[in-house]
């Protein structure tokens, strides 16, 4: 790890100043589970590391009927997994958060960190796509909300300018019957990255689908959604056209985890399993 200056701002304003002054040379330290590995591997060599864990606004986890759910940037995965309100109203998020790393890693890792890493296989990102999450960003100009699919630009690329800091994730309230599930296909049962992941969410009969680890960013499965929305009965057989559509919507690569061909096969199965599991939650 290279040498760097460590700062721990107490307020958003202070953090924004430091980030603005240091630009690309500053890295935000949140849970650190990705940052420290990347610094160890010398993939990044920040001059300033900005620990945001002392900023009060970032620690919030709250739900209101009007605004929905807010998950502060430093709320950990395990806090999300164990949150009653999330388990009750956004179970898919708890499910996905539980898929991230090991128990001890989830004590440090955060959902905002997962989003800001913008890895194609980030487990919590696909569920945030189907929940139409917004990323709440603070800068000296004020607060803005950016839809997650506008926020994530590419592999490890996000729409965050110098001086901006993610306060948390805002998820709209869900009205009416709904159910969602995240299905992850990986090589090992415990602690593995997704080879393929699918988030499926149904609200009042309208489906939202997102695919993970099959393109440079998470992808929405618009075609599959369209097909699903028209189905009266959803089962193994009627799902086939949607599974076929998923194959057309993705652009996976071959890597050490799987070949492109296998990912095409697994997107079908993952879609099917995610949708069927979402239906089981549907209420």
């Amino acid at each position: 790890m290279n040498k760097f200056q460590y700062v721990k701002p107490a307020t958003l304003n202070e953090a924004a100043d430091i980030l603005y002054q240091n630009g690309d040379e500053a890295s935000i330290l949140n849970g650190g589970t990705d940052l420290l590995v990347r610094m160890r591997d010398k993939m990044i060599k920040p001059k300033v590391v900005v620990d945001v864990k002392a900023i009060p606004e970032l620690k919030e986890l709250k739900y209101t009927e009007e605004e929905g759910l807010f998950i502060g940037a430093v709320v950990t995965m395990n806090e999300i997994v164990c949150s009653d309100i999330i388990l009750e109203k956004y179970k898919i998020l708890a499910e996905a958060a539980h898929e991230v790393g090991s128990y001890q890693l989830r004590n440090r890792a955060t959902m905002t960190g997962n989003v800001c890493n913008a890895s194609p296989s980030g487990d919590t990102i696909a569920p945030l796509y189907v929940l139409s999450a917004n990323i709440k960003i603070f800068s000296k100009e004020g607060i803005k909300l950016v839809p997650i699919d506008d926020f994530i630009l590419g592999v490890r690329k996000i729409a965050l300018k110098p001086g901006e800091i993610v306060v948390g994730i805002q998820i709209p309230p869900i009205k009416g019957k709904n159910g969602g599930s995240y299905y992850k296909h990986s090589r090992r049962k415990d602690v593995d990255l997704a080879t393929v992941g699918v988030a499926a969410f149904c609200n009042e009969g309208r489906w939202k689908i997102a695919y993970a680890a099959v393109a440079p960013t998470i992808l929405r499965g618009y075609k599959a959604e369209e097909i699903l929305n028209k189905l009266d009965v959803i089962d193994d057989t009627t799902l086939i056209p949607a599974m076929d559509a998923a194959v057309e919507e993705i652009s996976p690569i071959s890597d050490v985890r799987a070949s492109k061909e296998y990912r095409f096969d697994m997107i079908r199965i993952s879609l099917k399993r995610a949708v069927l599991a979402a239906l089981e939650q549907y209420a």
Binding site: G32, S102, Y103, D190
Partner: protein, 155 residues
């Protein structure tokens, strides 16, 4: 620039000056000479560096030492109290739940954190708690048995 930090480790108060780029694991091992926690991968994949920070198991290789300021840390060296072994330590010996011993401190700390938050864990909860602790020797079954035994003893 070094940072002045204060924290509690195994019940003792400590003040230290640390470089920002030092990991918690390196601080524990090098500055405090507590070498029970190990570095097996340096990337949060093996769990051999697991310690308990404010009641929660964490990978100490993935936390900066400066982040320990104000925290309460327990390492494997703090498990036994006044020469009396923790129930987990006893049960690991009884069940032959260790072989080379390298993963053992991390495994014990994951298990300890589990029993601290959940004194009566199910088998699934035990597995969830140690899923991030790799052991190449035992085949895990005896480790799960040992944690069950310690939990029963505690209750």
């Amino acid at each position: 620039m070094k940072h002045s930090i204060s924290f509690t480790i195994n019940g003792e108060k400590v003040h230290l000056e640390v470089e920002p780029h030092k990991t918690l694991l390196n601080m524990i091992r090098e500055d405090l000479n507590l070498t029970g926690a190990k570095e097996g991968c340096g990337a949060g994949e093996c769990g051999s560096c697991t310690v308990i920070v404010d009641g929660k198991a964490v990978n100490s290789c993935m936390m900066l030492a400066v982040e320990a300021d104000g925290k309460e840390i327990i390492t494997v060296e703090g498990l036994a109290k006044n020469g009396v072994l923790d129930a987990l330590q006893e049960s690991f010996i009884n069940n032959a739940a260790l072989q080379c011993g390298y993963c053992t401190p991390g495994m014990l700390m994951s298990a300890k954190a589990l029993l601290m938050r959940n004194p009566k864990p199910s088998e699934e909860e035990i597995k969830e708690a140690i899923a991030g602790n790799l052991c190449r020797c035992t085949g895990y079954k005896v480790i799960v048995d040992a944690i069950k035994e310690a939990a029963e003893k505690n209750n």
